[in-house]
Structure formats: C-alpha cells, structure tokens
Homo-oligomer: 145 residues x 2
C-alpha cells in the first residue's frame, strides 16, 4: 500500500473530523496497545494478534505523531529503535476506549479474551482507569524521567 492521500476535511463536524483521523481499522489498535498492553516499540505493535502489516503500522505511527496523539524518542540502548508513547492529547482518549469497552461488554459477550476487562469495567471502572493511568506513569518515570 502506498502512502495514503491526506484526507481533506469533510465538514466542520467534530465526529467527521475525528473519523478523518481515526476512521480506519488500525489506528485505534495502536492506541489500544499503548493504553492496555504496555507496548511502546514497533516490533511490539507488530506482534499484536491482529497482525498489522509493517507498512500500515508505519503509516499509522506517522499519522498519530502528526496529530499530536503520540510522541517518540530514540531507544536509550539502541539508536536504531524508537520508543512511542501517548501525549496528554492521546491519554485523553481513555474515556472513549472505556465507553467503547462498556458497549462491547454488553453486546459482544462472546469475546472470551476480554472477560477480565469486562469484569473490571462492570465492578470497578474507576479502579481500572486509575490502574491504566498508573501503569502509564510508571513507564514514563522509567523511560522519560
């Protein structure tokens, strides 16, 4: 797949503009990996079960960076590797993910892999949110501090 054309703004609507950014099958999966699976490297995103293609992953990382949702730094142990992490703008996407997960918990009950998250969302949404944020802060203290 060649580099995609830049999407022209279709309207002044916030949802339309958000979909210009996120409206594909892959972009939010990279954000998911950053939020919930403590993934921060190219090869880690590649290893996710959806098996994203290398060219799509490169493109989506560039888009997320250009949109200010992720930032990157050179890996301290290897200058050919990069570490990717969520900016404040990216971290502010968490409530959208949590609402999406709640909807999924109600209407996609046949997904066994997420039972754990479902249970947490049902019983202790605040606790889950705090844990995700604490995990991110721990990674940041170790890697950006």
């Amino acid at each position: 797949m060649p580099i995609e054309k830049t999407v022209q703004q279709r309207s002044q609507c916030v949802f339309s503009n958000a979909l210009d950014l996120f409206g594909d099958k892959w972009t939010l999966l990279v954000v998911r990996d950053l939020f919930f699976f403590n993934k921060h490297e190219y090869k880690e995103f590649l290893s996710s079960p959806e098996a994203i293609a290398t060219n799509i992953l490169s493109d989506r990382l560039k888009k997320l960076y250009a949109a200010g949702i992720i930032d990157e730094k050179i890996h301290p142990e290897n200058r050919s590797r990069k570490l990717y992490y969520l900016t404040t703008k990216g971290k502010d996407l968490l409530p959208i993910f949590l609402e999406l997960a709640k909807w999924g918990a109600k209407y996609m009950k046949d997904l066994p892999a997420m039972q754990n998250l479902y249970r947490k969302l049902g019983n202790d949404e605040k606790g889950l949110k705090a844990q995700v944020i604490a995990d991110i802060q721990k990674w940041e203290a170790e890697n950006l501090g």
Copy 2:
C-alpha cells in the same frame, strides 16, 4: 465501489471487533445523523455536509442493520421509502459519541459548527444527553407508536 468483503474477525479483542464494525470514515456519521440531526431517511443522510456517496450509504445502512444497530420500516406515506432508526443497541452508543465530542471540544477548538454542542457538553452534559434521548423518544412515539 463494489460491495465490500465481509471483514473476518481479526482477534478476540473488543476494540478490534468494534473497529471491524465501525472502523471506517462513514458508518458512525450515519449514526451521528440519527442521534443529533433527527435524520431517518436515505435522502436525509445523503444531504449531510460530508456528501456521502449513494453506494457507500447503502452499504453502511445494510451493515448497521445487519449488526442490529439500526432497524427500518416502510414509510407510512410511500412504500418505496424507508425510515431508519436506532435500536437499543444503537442508542447505547451515545456515551461513546459524548466522550468523542468532549475530546473534540478540547482538541479541535477551531471547529465553529460544533460550538453549541461543545458549550452544552461543558456546562450540562446530562441535559444534552437527556435532550438527545427525548428527541429520539418523540420521533419514536410519532413514527413507531
């Protein structure tokens, strides 16, 4: 554009499965029109500012129907027209839209068309939610009752 291939389930992840359903630039705009703009007919969706193409609109209405997010009925005044409306499963997407709008309100401040919604979300999210639901119930009472 030909009818798209059915997307195979990529993983057991709720987000991946949700993106198999919504991960494109158009599907959620039809849902937006149902929630916020009281649109219920094919020609009304076509008239939205993003100028969706007829074949894409037909495809997305079929997908939303197949996913149980919208239902349809024959227009009482014209058997060649249809009325589309959100099911309970569809209406339960409202919190996701509201979180998306809040994120947009924070990070897409240059969108003048949504200032009104932004203000409502900032000052009275509960009131906005109640109004959207009341508008839907009014339509339902008039058209499905």
